[in-house]
Amino acid sequence: MSGFLGPLDADGRVPPQQQTRVAAFLISAHGALARQYALVLPLRIEAAWQTELNAQFYRESEIVSLLQRATAWVPDLALGYMAASWEAAWFAAPVEGIADTARAPAVGLATLAHAVHAGIRPAALLPTEASAADPFVMALRRIEFESSRLLQAQILFLKGPDLVPSRNAVSAALEKRHAEVRKLWREMLASIGIDARE
């Protein structure tokens, strides 16, 4: 097993089978985040911090749109089963140890977003020979870069003063989410012959 996508074709493109499965996973994860942000985004923004919700919603949607258009899709019979397990994993998870029931769902969403943005590095799968002119290669680089920017909102919220009293609960929920997301990501990569590092 390799740690990188490939073998690439003569033009430095990732095999379509690998493109399909990686893109499907990323669309599932970022699509779930987009849906969850859409649910909490108010029609009228009343507080300054809600502008970030708007940004997160549209950036997640942009990632989904980009992958839909930049991927060389091929039929993949295993995707139906795999996508069902991914979608089940993105459901809001109860966060134990946070007394404020109004705040707990926001913590749950932030932990999922942190795990996706921090724990999944699609550009790190690209071998050095990957063609910079290939749209899928460019999409993976763009998603990883954008994820590190989006992540800042989750870091600010989860490390913020409002959650200091719940720091241990937040950390535990976040580590759990990271482990879940990393496991799914590694399993998906293993299914296309890639041994992702821990």
Partner: protein, 308 residues
Amino acid sequence: MPFLNHGSYRVRYELDGPADAPAYVLVNGLTQYSELWAAYRDALLARNFRVATFDLLGQGVSDKPALFINQDDHVAVLHRLIGELGEGPVFLSGISFGGLIALRYAIEHGQRLSGLVPMSCFAELSPQLMLIGNALRTGLILGGTGYLQDLLLPMNLSDKWLKPLLDKLDSVKRQGWLVNDVYALQNLMESFLDFQPLTARLSSISLPTMILNGEFDFLTPRALHETLRVEIPNSALVIIPEAYHAFTLEKGALTADLLARFAEDVLAGRWQGNKAVLVAPDEPGGEITPFPAGYDHLRAIPVRRAGP
């Protein structure tokens, strides 16, 4: 690949050399990983030392706590690793962020060490260092690990080292980019947000201590190392000629030789710190000379030192 446990986290380490040999433990800087000490491992093994390296929590193959990394955790991990080394002599060295961890270890567990070598190090955040640190963190946040590397490479390495690599910088940066995650680097950098200066505690370090500082290090300039020299009783400051902050990468053979000579001197009872200011040779094995008498080692231009 062996791992230590720290709570629920795993810390990857590497230990080479005979179990009864004096040991060197090397602590990474912020964006480093254990493999970068490979040349030191070879050089020190050849000089009959045992060598331990590891990835800090949040680095390389070690686990990366998702939200918080406390500097106390690094000291605890280091204590755990040194506990693996048995009862023989242990020399501890670290660079930059790793030097700070080594200093803290020496303050808290100095009785377990035979010698200390802080490199490109500091005991407090001067206004310049704090502001540069904040700017580097912002660079990481806005531009990712690659941009942080772009800032650090020209800041910490010489033209002589960089020039032949200018068209290969992407490959130079790639391994560091692959093993370092933005959130983990950010957590490491943010562990400074509640940093308490160590200066007042340095005098409790009674160990033989060799402080290494690059001649042209402007990230942690001479004045920050001077604090260590003045406060640590049995210390000497050794200036590495024509070196920048990351001289351990650029001048590995020379630095490994200095580390070995220091430990050999300590073990033979020859080391005398005397808070001396010394100049390292250009090449391994060369003579270590006193800084010219009467001149101020804190200045870049040759200014005669003011009288007492």
